[in-house]
Structures are given as C-alpha cells and as structure tokens.
Amino acid sequence: MTVMSYLGAIGAAQREAMEADPSVVIIGEDVEANVYGTTGGGKSRSDKGDFLQMFGSNRIRNTPISEEVIVGAAAGAAMTGLRPIVDLSYSSFLYMAMDQFVNQVAKNRYMFGGQASMPVVFRSAMFYGLNTGAHHSDRPYPMFMNVPGLKIVVPATPYDAKGLLRTAVDSDDPVLTFEACILWGTKGEVPEEEYRIPLGEARTVRRGDDATVVAISSAVPAAIAAAESLAEDGISVEVIDPRTLVPFDTEAVIRSVQRTGRLVVADPAHRTCSAAAEISAMVAEEAFESLRAPIVRVTTPDTQIPFSPSLEKQLYPSGPRITEAIRRVIGQPTSMPSHGARDMDQLATQAPR
C-alpha cells in the first residue's frame, strides 16, 4: 500500500493505462503542460510535462479549445482503433459537446446494430464549492444518466478513483467520469500493484442498522461525518457509495434498505431529476414493503450556484444536513436552528408549495 491523493491516483491510473497499451492516448486542453496535475506522472503538480516526455506528442494530444470536436474526434478515433482518455477539465464544459455525447457517443453502437464499439473515457472535474460561480460549479451527471449508452463513474476516494479509471479505460463502451475537485487533495491508501474495480459494484462505507444513506461523490465524506456524529447518540447508520451511477448497484441499496427500512440519499446535484430522484424512485418501486419512513433526499437546491462565500457552501449536502435528514427518517426531533438544513430542503425544489 502507498498513500496517494485523489488527484495523484488519477494521474497514476492514466500513467499505468498509457504504459499498458499503446492505443491509449490522452486528448485535452493543456494536457501537455500538465496544468490540471494528472499528466505529470501522478506524482505532484511540479512534474510538468512528464507525460509528454514519456509518451510523446503523438499520444499526448494538446488541443485547441473546441470541446465539440474534441469529444466527437475521440469517439471517431475510438471507433477506429484508439482508446482515448479525454480530459475535458471542468464538467461545466461538457455542454459544449452535448450533441456529440448524446447523438454520437451514446447512440452509434446501438444505431449501427453493434458495428461500432467505443472504448473512450471522458474525464471531467466538478469544481463546486470553491467560489468560482455558476459557470464552473456544475454537477451534470444526472443529465447523462438520462442518456442510455453511457457509463457513469463518480469516485469519492483515491482508491476508487484509480481502480475505476483503469476499468473505464478497459471498457469497450464510453465512460464518463465525474471527479470532484473538492476531493482532489484527499489522501488515501492505494495498492502498489495494478488493480481494477468493476463498474456497478457499490461500496458499503460503513455498516449500520437504523438507516441507510446512499451518498454520491463529495457527499460521501459528509455522510460519514453524519454517521459518526449520530453514532455518538447511539444511532447506527449504514453509508453506501454506489461509485458508479450507470451501471447502478440496485441490489446493494435494496438489500440495505430491506434491513434498515429507512433511506436518505445525499447527492450534490440539483434536486429535480437528480441521481437522488432516481435512487429514491427505484427504492419506492422495488423495496416499498421494507420502507418504514419517507425517503429523504439531501441535494443541492434547484438554484444556480452563487459566487459569494456567504451564499455557496450552504447549498451542498453537508454533514449537518445529512444528520438532520437521518433524524427525520428515524422520527427523532430535529436539532437544527431555523434557516438550517430543514429550510434548505424546503427551498430545494422548483415545485410550488
């Protein structure tokens, strides 16, 4: 085992994948200069240009700012013999290439009756929680979940980030990974040897009996904090990190809810049509008989992301908001001051009430 940061783990996975297979290439803006820290050898930001030296400019493809053709070209290259890893830097830029994602990447194999395969990985980082305002803070994975044909990965730890990225590169289908910048610095143990984590296998982060929390991306550490604080009150919370949203490990969630009878879903995406909505709907259909309380979603309210530090942080699922939600589902009196978590969840929807 060795200790790595989340960002370092991504760099290491990229390096291993590049070393393992000459048809793997990296395509993206500023990848040559290692601006985002994942094309420098997986060590530190100061390893500028390592990948360029190691793999050459034929395989490290520094692009113009042209997301639409970057995504489409990666798809076309994947259909004809390469296995590109595309670095789209921030997730907010994916919309620029939405047509390519939906109409080409997701559809080509199906439309052409299986003639195409599309081994391509699109990496992007969600920059929320860092005071950069509405244009850099998006968490758009729910949109892509609504597009059949894509696989969607949302790692929350260095171990998962590395293992899932290796699997993504191995996959013959298109994979989108949504990384959380706020986790970039998180450190964790990672095996020295190569390993893969299958897509579609949730990780039970913490066992518990009184309620299940399914937490996504940066909501995972928040859920752990909530579980720890409730443990002090003798409340035992199970925390599940699905790790991939498509495919989704329904069984792990259902099994847990069958045991606990209570579900909270913590999801940093906007509330309406979020991953949390899907998970809730799934359980309301398939584990209804086990449910002993309403399913509560802790999400980002349906508002855009404001810049001011006095406005932004409150919006994302936090330890206290998740704690509050768990107390609600287990029927405990809440302890939040007004204008706290409860209010946030009341404000959290575009539905008139």
Binding site: E68, V71, G76, L82, Y110, G113, V246
Partner: protein
C-alpha cells in the same frame, strides 16, 4: 487525370446504383413500404461517386441524412441497405438504424447522421486514429451546404489543420437546406472558408461532372495521404426530389424551371455520352450495365421482402458491448 476504362465504367455503375436504388426507395416510401422518411441523392450522383471513387478501400467516410448514396458510392452491397430502410433483421444495422443511420463498416462507412453536421467530428477522429496509428487511411466527411453553417465544421477544420490530419471535408452544395436557399443563409463562399483555417479550399463548379469531382477530391486525398493535412472541397450540385420523402413535411419551393435546367445536365446521361464519345464503352455495353444494376436493385428488394423483421427483444441489444442489467 487518366482513368482506366474499368474505373470509368465503375463510376457509371455506382452512379446508376444510387439512382436506381433511390428511385426505388422513393417509390416504396410513398407506398408505405418503407416506414418514416428517406432523403434521396437523385441528381447528386456525380458528386457522391466522384468523391467515393477517389478514396481507397480502407479509407473512412461519414455522411448525413441524405444517406443512401454514400455507402452505395463506397461499394456497399445493396441488399442489406434496402433491408435496413424497411427495418428488416438482415439490414446493414440489423434494422436499428433505418435510412437516416446507415453504416457499413465493412466498406469504411462509419455512419450517416440524422443530425446535421454531427458526423463531421467523427470523421475527424477517424483521421486522428489513422495519424496516430500511422496506417495510411484517409477520412472523408460528407456534409451539405446547410451543415456548412454548423460550428463543429470549423472546430474540425482547425483541429485537422493543426494536427495535419488526413481528411477531406466534402461539402455537397445542392444549393438548398430543406426549404432554405443557401445564398440566403450563407455569408461568404464556403470553399473560401478553408483559407482562414490554413488549408486549400476548392469549389467544383460543375458537380454534375463525375470526373471533375473525382479530380478535385483525388488531389485532396493525395495531399492527405502524403501527410500534408486536410482540404475542403465544395461541390455545386442539385437534388431533383423533395428534401425528404415520406414525412410530408412542407413541400419544396424551388422554381420548377430551375429544376428543369439541372435535369437537362443529368450527371448519368452526361457521363454516358462521354463514355461513348471517348470510346470507353458502347451504348450496348452501357445498356447492359444498366440492366445489371436494375437487377441488382430488384434483388435487393427481393432480399428485403424475404427477410424477417427483427424480434422485439432485439431492441434491447447492442447498447453496450457487455450486458448491463437486462440490456445487452
């Protein structure tokens, strides 16, 4: 350009294959034998075939909604194409694609796109893999005058320019995008846009002359193959039929006299005459060629009629390469 008689006859054959295939498809869609809609290339055969014949077998190609001509021009067998239009299990895409989404990877046809402009980046990516893998394949992206106003074309041209990708951007300027005359929505000249993106841009004014198209595209393909990068070729041509047949979406507001003038310069008639005049073939040989093509189309229809529709469960296949849940 000195082309062998064989090559010239193959050009005529491919133009005829497109013409007869599309005439049949047009009839069938009107009779309800083909569901949905078809967009025919009738009138544009020289432009399609001139371009396709300038490519080699291993070369790649993408196209658009006006879709049948491209794979036919690239040499795809007609049976699976026709079966695809009808939605049969033996279709080239197993019935999943239909007219708008033909693809025949066996001849380098990487797919037609119902979304205007959307397949241009795909062709660019195929050129990228040729470059990285150094396998000598050239890509060609077919798109219309309408698609020439989609931004992704210029992103693609720029990327291909800086990376010197082996690709030809081929604009089929049939002077209309659906009901809209190109000159009313196009600022400047399409071919002239190449210069700003650092590549040659040529305009084939007589796109009804298959040899003229072949020459221009062949020059571009050779440049690409030499590693010198992309080119833009704009071909002026004309479609005879409605934009789209079967949907009854609005009709065409083109001047009938304009159409008549173009029909007079029909690419197949013109080239036939030239083949005779140049002593490449006799009228009888050309009649025989035409008869062969008609038979080929008849056989394609027969093949289609004899084929079953796909089982409903096929709707759940081919989304991924491996099963996800119940989906395979």
């Amino acid at each position: 350009m000195n082309l062998s008689p064989q090559t010239q006859l193959e050009m005529q054959r491919r133009m005829l294959r497109i013409r007869r295939f599309d005439e049949r498809a047009s009839k069938m869609v009107k009779r309800g034998q083909i569901p949905g809609t078809v967009h025919t290339s009738i009138g544009q055969e020289a432009q399609v075939v001139g371009a396709c014949m300038a490519l080699g077998e291993g070369d790649y190609m993408t196209g658009n909604h006006r879709s049948h001509g491209h794979p036919i021009g690239k040499g795809s067998p007609l049976g699976p194409l026709m079966a695809e239009l009808v939605g049969k299990a033996t279709g080239v895409c197993g019935g999943k694609g239909g007219s708008l989404h033909l693809a025949d990877f066996s001849v380098g046809s990487l797919g037609e796109s119902g979304i205007v402009g959307s397949s241009i980046p795909i062709a660019t990516g195929a050129a990228l893999s040729s470059k990285v893998l150094d396998n000598g394949h050239v890509s060609l992206a077919f798109f219309g005058d309408g698609a020439a106003n989609q931004g992704c074309l210029y992103e693609a041209m720029n990327l291909a320019g800086v990376w010197k990708l082996p690709i030809v951007f081929l604009c089929e300027n049939n002077q209309y995008a659906l009901s809209t005359p190109a000159h009313t929505v196009t600022s400047g000249v399409i071919a002239d846009r190449a210069a700003g993106f650092g590549m040659p841009g040529v305009r084939v004014e007589d796109g009804q002359d298959v040899l003229a198209v072949y020459d221009a595209v062949h020059t571009a393909v050779r440049r690409a193959r030499r590693g010198e990068g992309p080119s833009l070729v704009e071909v002026i041509t004309y479609r005879y039929n409605e934009h789209s047949e079967g949907l009854k979406l609005g009709t065409d507001y083109r001047d009938q006299a304009e159409r008549a003038q173009w029909v007079e310069r029909d690419p197949i008639v013109v080239f036939r005459q030239r083949l005779v005049d140049d002593g490449v073939a006799t009228a009888e040989q050309l009649d025989a060629l035409e008869a062969e093509v008609i038979e080929e189309v008849d056989e394609a229809v027969q093949f289609t009629n004899d084929s079953p529709f796909p089982d409903p469960s096929v709707a759940f296949k081919d989304l991924y390469t491996e099963p996800i849940g119940a989906l395979a």
